[in-house]
Amino acid sequence: MRRRANLGAALLALLLLWLVGWPLLVTLAEALEAPHWTLRHFAEFARRPEEWAALWASLWISLATVGLAAAIGVPLAFLFERNEFPGRRFLGALVALPVVLPPLVGVIAFLFLYGESGFVARSIQALFRLEESPWRLTGPTAVLLVHAYTMYVYFYLFTRAGLARLDGALLEAAAGLGASRHTVLTRVTLPLLRPALTGAALLTFMTSLASFSAPYVFGGGFRVMTTQIVASKLNGDVAMAMVETVTLAAVALVGLALLQRSEQGRVVAGGGRGVAPARKALGRSRWLAAGFGWGLAVLLLLPHATLVLVSLVPRGTWTIEILPPVLNLGNYVSLVTETERLRPLVNSLWMAVVATAGALVLGFSAARIAVRGKTRLGGLLETLLAVPWALPGTVFAVALSAAFSVHAPWVGRFILVGTAAILPLGYMVRNLPLTGRAAFAGFRQLDPALDEAAAALGAGRWRRLWRVDLPLTAPAIAAGASLAFITALGDFVISIVLYTFETRPIAIEILSSLRLQETGAAAAYGVVLATLSAAVFFLWGRRGQVST
């Protein structure tokens, strides 16, 4: 039995090494100009000031995003978790909504509201009778604003979860020992929340470092590493693109290691036990809190409301007016009636389904073999599944394009770039951490005695898989799969490096529509994408949370 698990684990590890590790190695080899093995491209990288500027920009933007997102997300979490006021539950869920929306949707929604020709700029321009738009939403400030808007939710969710797990008795003990509210907050509550805050900081940092759509759309001349890589690649400077990719991967891994090391050995005693402190039922101020909460929710959802409004504007009907003069469903109708407009939708759907299915099969198989089979390769399988999370999507896109643009079957390289297979493959590799982590969590929560009980009652391997493992891990698997599906459906980072005209997905079509000044069509795609993503998340994505 153990031998069979070891064989399965070895085959799976080989497959994952081929999918995850091999493209990265090929990228490194190309950056070193194998088989000549030279560091001249790295030297060239070090000589160019624009490369250093992009690297520095990636780092400071990511650190600033962490600070800004924490400044918004943490107080919001305290407001919604520690106080009781009318509409708290509904608003609390609403505020978390951006987490399920594809980043590009948030970016274009922001553009339509706060961009130089967005609602706010138009209104101010009209109000003060200005010659031109009062601002240009471009450069690092714009990128930072969009990042804060799309990533505060990590701090919000992590801090709320941390507060909900807090043992109220610890706070009461501190108060009983004479600590003031401020002392309780700084000496007890925040130190206990440290793992949650570090987790949120890590996630925000990594997401920001990997961010592509915001700097691509709002960056202007301001380059970060992800946009620099794509620019180098589009300019035909492939070797430099490889060096930049390797550098970004190294920075991501170092950042990850540093952040993880800062938390090692830190044991939070008492965390997760006891009952969370009761919410304060605010007196008169609860109406103030409710008003603040409602106002904030409106502010945070305004960009998406704008997106819906813009999607109803027919092409060429909105020029200098503050509000669009004509609204109809024409953009949506053309999405389904015009073959070329429907194609990106169909492409994204089938590619997301295939990629999710693949990632699901690999994640589930690895988790079942690693957790059940107690194989020595379990740790390797789990690490391989997690690697794509630690590296920016651009890194993987470039790595896949490097590995699969050459026909050399004897070293595991095939020409997939330019075919319909490469994008689903890219999405699948990117989504391995989501399905893998969900499957591992599902199996670890499962009492191994259930499998043994089924075996003792005469059930063979397949029946145990079908009747016990699948139904019991289904909530976790569904949560992981729905997140993977949403990510693949709205992907922009992988797509912009690997798409072809025939396989162009929704995100690429949104960008093309914007370039062609078809803002209504771009917004309609955005609304469809956001609606599909939210529907999938609310139907299946929350089942994992319910089961835990």
């Binding site: 259930l450 043994e452 003792a456 005469g458």
Partner: protein, 392 residues
Amino acid sequence: MSTPLTPTLSPPAGRGGEFLVLEHLDKHFGGLHVTRDVSLSIRRSEILALLGPSGSGKTTVLRTVAGFEVPDSGRVLVDGEDVTLLPPERRNFGIVFQHYALFPHMTVGENVAFGLRVRRGSDPAGVRSAADIRDRVARALASVDLAGFEARKVTEISGGQQQRVALARALAPEPRVLLLDEPLSNLDPSLRGRTRRELKRIIRAAGITTLFVTHEQEEAFELGDRVALMHAGSLEQVGPARELYEAPASRFAAAFIGRSNVVPGTWESRGSDPAGVRSAAESRGRARLPGGAAWPAVAAGDLIDGSPVDVVVRPEALAFATARDGMAAQGSVVEIRFAGRETYFAVLLDTGVEVEVLAAPDAAEVGWKVFVAPATEGPAPRAYPRIAGDFE
């Protein structure tokens, strides 16, 4: 009324009435030797309790019998058939897990039907139609006094009911052997006594050969026809409960089973009982305590004159005595532990050893100077060779 489950297939008797045989089972986990040369035979329809402290290897033995672990060496035989390498799903054993392992996504009825549905078509007992399965599920549930519980969710019933569902699920496919892994440990102490008796009634009614793991002596004694005591991976002693209590084969067995006092002394083979030699291993003599008192004792193992021994004596085998008695050791009562009709008196002997004496509640008061000596009734004190570094 409950309907007893009776196996429809009665397998032929094994050699010498032995139905489940474990031969020289040995198992390592990494560098840890968890099972050491365990050999054991269980007769058809016998209930054998595998008793031992945590980490003694009893659960590993049970899991090896079930097929979840493969021994490094040794064999498991059922009715003469070697099943050592047979996967669990092909052994036809019923297992009740410590936490029951009821499938949470199935109802009570679906849980009990699981083993029947799995075996449908492949079972020599005959093709089982849906109606047949329903009937067997109903009978299995009735046998554990849960008739009509088929549609209930397993998460909505009490711990005691879950335990009985687990038993019904294990028994429904009419297994050859029933294995129970601490099945009562999850229950409220107030429920355990009653559940234990019900469990015994159901197993007896099914007439099934049963191996039952527990660390609770009371459970082992009440449920088991025989008790196998394990310690550090090895079998210490196998026998009826009374034998384990009255004639423990080792100092560990003596100390683990029941309440006992351990008093150090020196062995003197020419004791007061001239007819004393029972066997080579069990001769009578006496143990000289440091204060001069000499307690008659049975030598457990080979003892030579003057060798240091530990005398193990039950509280009920000690009594308060007079100073004139040459067997009496002097001490003072330091604590009284009330236990119903009789009371345990903790007596600190002048030699510094504390012993417990079971006597009438008014026999002494705290602070009294008393003399303690072996009683004329109760299990005789047993002397074991003292091993350096042994437990207290």
